[in-house]
């Protein structure tokens, strides 16, 4: 068990960069989520860790062991890395029973028959699959198949478990159940887990830290709370939660608080930068009041269950999202008050 460290890792596919200059460290025992829109490079990063792809530049280490170096061409093949990988398609071997699928990694490691049987039983028990041990994968449901895939990668006690959108092919109810399976498992084993997803709710619910990726780069690597409350740039602010990014002008910072001009109103802002340029307005930063800082017109109403999401257009043309328990009709005028939004600096 050890930290996974990447330094200046890059990957190009026939000239087109898929990953650029990734330098980061995943701590031992952490549950990491790689989050981003499709094509952002998150799966490529995971496949680099697994050894299915060779980095074009930079170095990947686990502890003090070098796994791959794109500059020297050195690479430890996947089969010698001792990592577990859970595939989106499950990748169960259709010609083997559930038990054989799970015990195969132990066979490869030349364990004795008794040890294989004992450890396989433990893994099947842990994933609740004991009753299905002698079935073929084709006789299982989607959720059961994903449990087999998880059991298969756990059985060999890997240094890290890599998961590539493992819940993407399952329905909503099953997803929630399996999320708890994954988090419970993580709590019990304290194995390092790297989890790729494009679903931010999934990432928020499970991960200790989330790396938000876009265009082959990590935009922000932080805890779920910080990503939501203290986004570093426009992409993160807009991708995580429903944030609207607007400019902030003439910021004055005092010892206690900072104030700036947002959409023509003078409001208090929070920031860790001395001269922030933008603020992120989330629904909870906006309150509907008669005597609001700015006037807006309701353009669209969506019922969320118990509350409404209002898409409003301010007088200056900016679209702002607000939440309310009361019902408003499209076309109504209302006032909005801005309360302490997060401000950041972006060129």
């Amino acid at each position: 068990m050890a930290n996974i460290a990447l330094s200046s890792v890059g990957k190009t596919f026939s000239g087109a960069p898929a990953l650029q200059d990734i330098t980061t460290c995943f701590e031992d025992g952490e549950f990491i989520a790689l989050l981003g829109p499709s094509g952002c490079g998150k799966t490529t990063l995971l496949r680099l860790l697994a050894g299915f792809e060779m980095p074009s530049a930079g170095e990947i280490r686990i502890g003090d062991r070098q796994l791959a170096n794109g500059d020297t061409g050195m690479m430890v093949p996947s089969e010698d890395r001792n990592m577990g990988f859970v595939f989106q398609s499950y990748a169960l071997w259709p010609h083997m029973t559930v038990r054989r699928n799970v015990s195969y990694p132990l066979e490869i490691r030349r364990f004795s028959k008794a040890e294989i049987a004992a450890q396989t039983d433990v893994a099947l028990e842990a994933t609740g699959l004991s009753a299905y041990a002698d079935r073929m994968p084709s006789e299982l449901s989607g959720g059961q198949r994903q449990r087999v895939a998880l059991a298969r990668c756990l059985v060999s006690d890997p240094d890290a478990v890599l998961l590539d959108e493992p819940l993407a092919n399952l329905d909503v109810a099953l997803r929630a159940t399996l999320q708890t399976v994954f988090t419970d498992f993580h709590k019990r084993t304290r194995a390092t887990m790297v989890y790729v997803t494009h679903d931010q709710a999934e990432a928020m619910a499970m991960a200790d830290r989330i790396a938000v990726m876009d265009r082959g780069q990590i935009q922000q690597f932080d805890t779920p709370q910080n990503l939501y409350e203290r986004p570093k740039n426009r992409f993160v602010a807009e991708f995580v939660g429903r944030g609207t990014v607007v400019p902030v002008r003439s910021v004055e910072t005092s010892d206690v608080a900072a104030h700036g001009h947002v959409l023509g109103a003078r409001v208090e802002v929070q920031s860790n930068h001395e001269r922030p340029s933008h603020v992120c307005l989330r629904p909870e930063n906006l309150t509907i009041t008669e005597t609001g800082d700015l006037r807006a017109r309701v353009a669209r109403v969506t019922y969320l269950g118990g509350k409404y999401l209002l898409e409003t257009v301010a007088e200056c043309g900016t679209r702002l999202m607000a939440e309310t328990r009361a019902k408003f009709d499209v076309g109504m005028q209302l006032g909005l008050t801005i309360t302490t939004p997060w401000a950041f600096y972006e060129e």
Binding site: M54, S78, E79, D80, S89, I108, R152
Partner: protein, 563 residues
């Protein structure tokens, strides 16, 4: 693009690729070199000399005429069947398709032999029925027309298969759209279905022409007695009569056939890529136009045609194989199994041929399975520039006429480099020629099944620590075993029946079954030739039925007659 995978995969791919290229492309390359670089001016003089000989020109003309008109016959039969089977609601389509595949799988010399047994003055079947023409009348099939007819029947399956595949890819909604716009009946067929199928039809015509051009069995059995010589039989006669002293001369002829064939192959490729453009889009349900009241008559007609081209000749063959001597009518008191007994157990030549053909076919199937399975998987996973070039060329030894490949093999192996040894005259030259010729027969089904295999299957094994060998043994081989088995059976089937290549490469002691049937018939032992041919037909049928029965377990695209 490097798709990933480990370095050991790259090394293994390189090693197998070199072996595969040496096997398949080296002979073709060697023939090419012979023609263009090796001999320079002398070669050109020889080439122009050979090409201006009247015998060459006549043979070229005969080849083009028989192949061209034979293709027309194939087109008429194959297209009629394809349109009816693919577009309408005929019953028992599976059985019909299976029967239409049999002509392709029965070796041409047996087709020719069986047809001569139901025509002409000495036909046992006609004599038995008392309708044989008087002695002295010529065998009508010993003519250009006979060759054309049998070439047409032999290759109708090719047109049928390609056209049917093209038709099945037309979604029903295009035809429904035409109907809702007001087009009816034949107008839909002519204005919507036909334009969409033209590329696959053109590709089918081109490849049928190439196959007919390279056919040796039919013109050899029917043309040589009539003095009607085509290019493949000319090459055979020269090489059989004068030995390797005419090697330079026959390689010019082989190249002539090769050039015509390559043009045909290029035409086929061109239309095949056109077809792919059309195939984009969802193919929902295939078409099934109701025939209504004419369904039963159409079905009767189709099955009657199948009877005439398939069952009748086989009865002729069977009748001949059961009489004591050729020309004796078949009666209760003349029925004998002597010929069967002779060819199966007594004649040393036929038993040797059985052993040779079985060994060659089994050996070729085995070696090709071992070679193609890892190669196809590695090429799928780590495509390199070399592997892609190889992928586009590996059909060449199979698509080129057998005569061309045989001459290329002789040129390559008559003097092994750096030694005095030669493989010419040994069984190994036939074996290597079979490996080259049937490489594509094995490779394509395996490739088709591996393309459908989730790449994560191998990666999952890799991530749990399985080495390259373990991954192949435990995951890839079991998962592609059905396709490999189908490919193996197909290779066995084609190699077991092969005539063209072995006819040019055999020598005493290395006869194959194809050669022996040809020689028995040539020396007048028609009854024994028929018994041997019947045995082979039975083996072919059993193997085809085995593939058919297993076909449900194979991935799509593995069994050639199930598209």
């Amino acid at each position: 693009m490097q798709k990933g995978g480990s370095r050991s995969e790259g090394r293994l791919l390189g090693a197998i690729l070199v072996v595969a290229i040496c096997l398949t492309l080296a002979p073709v390359l060697r023939l090419f070199v012979e023609g263009f670089a090796d001999q320079g001016a002398i070669g050109l003089t020889l080439a122009s000399e050979v090409l201006s000989q009247p015998a060459t020109l006549t043979a070229l003309k005969h080849s083009l005429v028989t192949a061209g008109l034979g293709t027309v016959v194939s087109l008429v039969l194959g297209a009629a069947f394809a349109f009816l089977v693919a577009l309408t609601d005929l019953r028992a389509k599976g059985a019909l398709v299976f029967c239409l595949m049999i002509p392709m799988m029965i070796p041409p010399q047996i087709t020719a032999l069986s047809w001569t047994q139901i025509m002409g003055p000495s036909s046992v079947l006609l004599k038995t029925l008392g309708i044989a023409p008087p002695l002295g009348t010529p065998q009508p099939l010993y003519s250009a027309e006979g060759i054309i007819l049998l070439l047409g029947i032999q290759h109708m399956s090719i047109i049928f298969l390609t056209l049917r595949a093209g038709l099945r890819s037309i979604p029903q909604d295009v035809v429904e759209a035409a109907r809702i716009s007001g087009a009816r009946g034949l107008r839909t067929w002519w204005q919507v279905v036909m334009p969409l199928t033209l590329p696959s039809l053109a590709a089918g015509i081109a490849i049928t022409f190439v196959t007919a051009l390279g056919n040796f069995g039919i013109p050899a059995m029917l043309g040589i007695p009539a003095g009607y010589v085509t290019l493949p039989t000319l090459v055979y006669q020269k090489l059989a009569g004068l030995g390797t002293s005419v090697l330079a001369e026959v390689s010019v002829l082989a190249m002539l056939i090769g050039v015509v064939a390559v043009v045909g192959i290029l035409v086929q490729r061109f239309f095949q890529t056109r077809q792919k453009v059309f195939l984009v889009g969802a193919t929902s349900r295939p078409l099934a136009i109701p025939l209504g009241a004419v369904r039963l008559p159409v079905e009767i007609l189709l099955w009657a045609v199948v009877c005439v081209i398939l069952v009748l000749p086989m009865f002729g063959l069977l009748a001949t194989s059961l009489v004591p001597a050729y020309g004796v009518p078949l009666r209760v008191d003349t029925v004998t199994l002597t010929s069967w007994w002779e060819v199966l157990f007594r004649q040393p030549v036929t038993t040797r041929a059985f052993a040779n053909s079985f060994g060659l076919a089994f050996g070729a199937a085995f070696v090709l399975v071992v070679l193609c399975l890892p190669l196809a998987w590695l090429m799928e996973r780590n495509p390199t520039r070399l592997s892609r070039v190889f992928d586009s060329l590996l059909d060449l030894p199979y698509a080129l006429p057998g005569v061309v490949l045989s001459i290329a093999m002789i040129l390559l192996l008559i003097n092994l480099p750096f030694t005095e040894a030669t493989l010419y005259g040994t069984i190994w030259i036939i074996f290597l020629a079979y490996l080259a010729r049937f490489f594509a027969v094995m490779f394509r089904p395996v490739q088709a099944s591996l393309k459908q295999l989730d790449p994560a299957m191998g990666e999952a094994a890799q991530s749990v620590g399985a080495s390259l060998f373990q991954r192949l043994r435990d995951v890839i081989v079991p998962l592609s075993a059905p396709a490999a088995a189908a490919g193996g059976i197909l290779v066995f089937l084609t190699a077991f029946n092969e005539l063209t290549v072995s006819a040019l490469l055999w020598s005493s002691g290395t006869e194959t079954l194809g050669v022996v049937i040809f020689n028995l018939d040539d020396s007048g032992e028609t009854a024994m030739a028929s018994a041997l041919a019947m045995t082979i037909v039975l083996v072919v049928m059993v193997l085809m039925i085995a593939v058919q029965l297993l076909s449900r377990r194979f991935p799509k695209g593995v069994v050639p007659w199930q598209t």
